[in-house]
């Protein structure tokens, strides 16, 4: 039986879609059968982030309305054997799907896939309710900014009110240089405030923009720090005990840099 994980945040623009794409690709690289569902109806983006925008025929709304079978709407990602995308509809709105339909859809997909990742839209309205309806676990994405952390806190409260206990926190776009000089909240600061478990920390990395430009998830890029962070998160999701990348100390950061240039054994 597959597991349904929702990736959510409250605030927009913190990296939910990028996270979904990278964790999905990461799990597929580990040999898992994965399907990504974009629930951002009307503002779909997971397709372009994945580089699959030209292959959409049917979408999420077609599936729940019975216009097509699930199989027909799933786009197989040719780069990763076992990765599939169920795109959102672009010309409809959030009310085109109900939470009950999402529960049924995710339950149907459990038989076929090891992981069903649901990319949640920003906000706390219908789209959020749809996205969390069928989920077993939740990953809350935030960045080290007051607005994102505040919204993450609200989302954590709403998840728990909807019986999604123990959501995990992913802190995105951390800049170790700013943390070091006291101009950005540290991982500990954020955990102290939100009081939930950490699933991972992703550094701010230009390579994310480059990889999104090309429609290739950064998790496949061995030279990308963010890619490495996502690979670690993937392994944690699979139950491995992987230490959090230490981005804050000089040693850790320099070590990473050296590693990038192949000077690991210094």
């Amino acid at each position: 039986m597959g597991e349904v994980i929702v990736i959510t945040s409250g605030k927009g623009g913190v990296g939910k879609t990028t996270t979904t794409a990278n964790i999905g690709a990461g799990l597929a690289l580990q040999g898992k059968k994965v399907v990504l569902i974009d629930t951002d109806i009307g503002l779909r983006n997971l397709d372009v982030v994945m580089g699959l925008e030209n292959r959409i025929v049917y979408d999420l709304v077609d599936v729940v309305e019975g216009t097509c079978r699930i199989k027909q709407a799933l786009i197989k990602d040719k780069r990763f054997e076992s990765l599939h995308l169920l795109p959102a509809a672009q010309t409809r709105d959030k009310s085109a799907v109900t939470p009950e339909q999402m529960v049924k859809l995710t339950d149907d997909l459990r038989n076929e896939f090891d992981f069903i990742l649901v990319d949640c839209p920003a906000g706390i309205e219908q789209g959020f309710k749809n996205a969390i309806a069928g989920a077993d676990r939740a990953i809350v994405v935030t960045t080290p900014e007051v607005s994102a952390v505040r919204d993450a806190d609200r989302i954590i409260g709403l998840l728990e009110a909807n019986e999604l206990r123990n959501p995990k926190l992913l802190i995105n776009r951390v800049r170790p240089d700013m943390v070091k000089r006291g101009d950005m909240m540290s991982i500990d600061d954020i955990i102290d405030i939100l009081a939930i478990d950490l699933i991972g920390v992703v550094p701010d990395d230009e390579k994310i923009i480059v990889s999104t430009n090309k429609g290739e998830p950064a998790v496949t890029d061995n030279k990308s720090l963010a890619g490495e962070a996502y690979r670690n998160i993937t392994r944690r999701i699979l139950g491995e005990n992987v230490p959090i990348l230490n981005l804050e100390s000089d040693e850790g950061f320099m070590f990473k840099i050296k590693k990038l240039f192949g000077l690991r054994a210094n």
Binding site: V146, R154, G182, D183, I193
Partner: protein, 94 residues
């Protein structure tokens, strides 16, 4: 220059400290989930208790959640502020 000196002596707060402090405060407010109904309930109970001792002007009673400086003066804490106009103090109490 002044700024640099104060940094050396550790007097200036870094911007993340402001972020943390402000967040903690706003979250107390957010988490308290103070709905108008909740305040109405509090208001009703307060009127009940005070009415045992004095006549109050219920129509101009004002109660709200706000923020105030803490006792030691360097933090801001959430506060319940009530403005209760008294018409008459009952002579015997109860």
């Amino acid at each position: 220059m002044l700024l640099d000196l104060s940094k050396i002596f550790g007097k200036s707060k870094s911007s993340k400290d402001f972020a943390k402090e402000r967040l903690k405060l706003v979250l107390i407010h957010d988490r308290a989930n103070v709905s108008p109904q909740f305040l109405e309930m509090v208001k009703g109970e307060i009127i009940k208790v005070i009415s045992n001792y004095m006549d109050i002007d219920e129509d101009s009673l004002d109660i709200q959640m706000t923020r105030t400086k803490s006792e030691d003066g360097d933090r801001v804490v959430p506060a319940l502020v009530a403005n209760i106009p008294i018409k008459n103090v009952k002579s015997s109490g109860k």
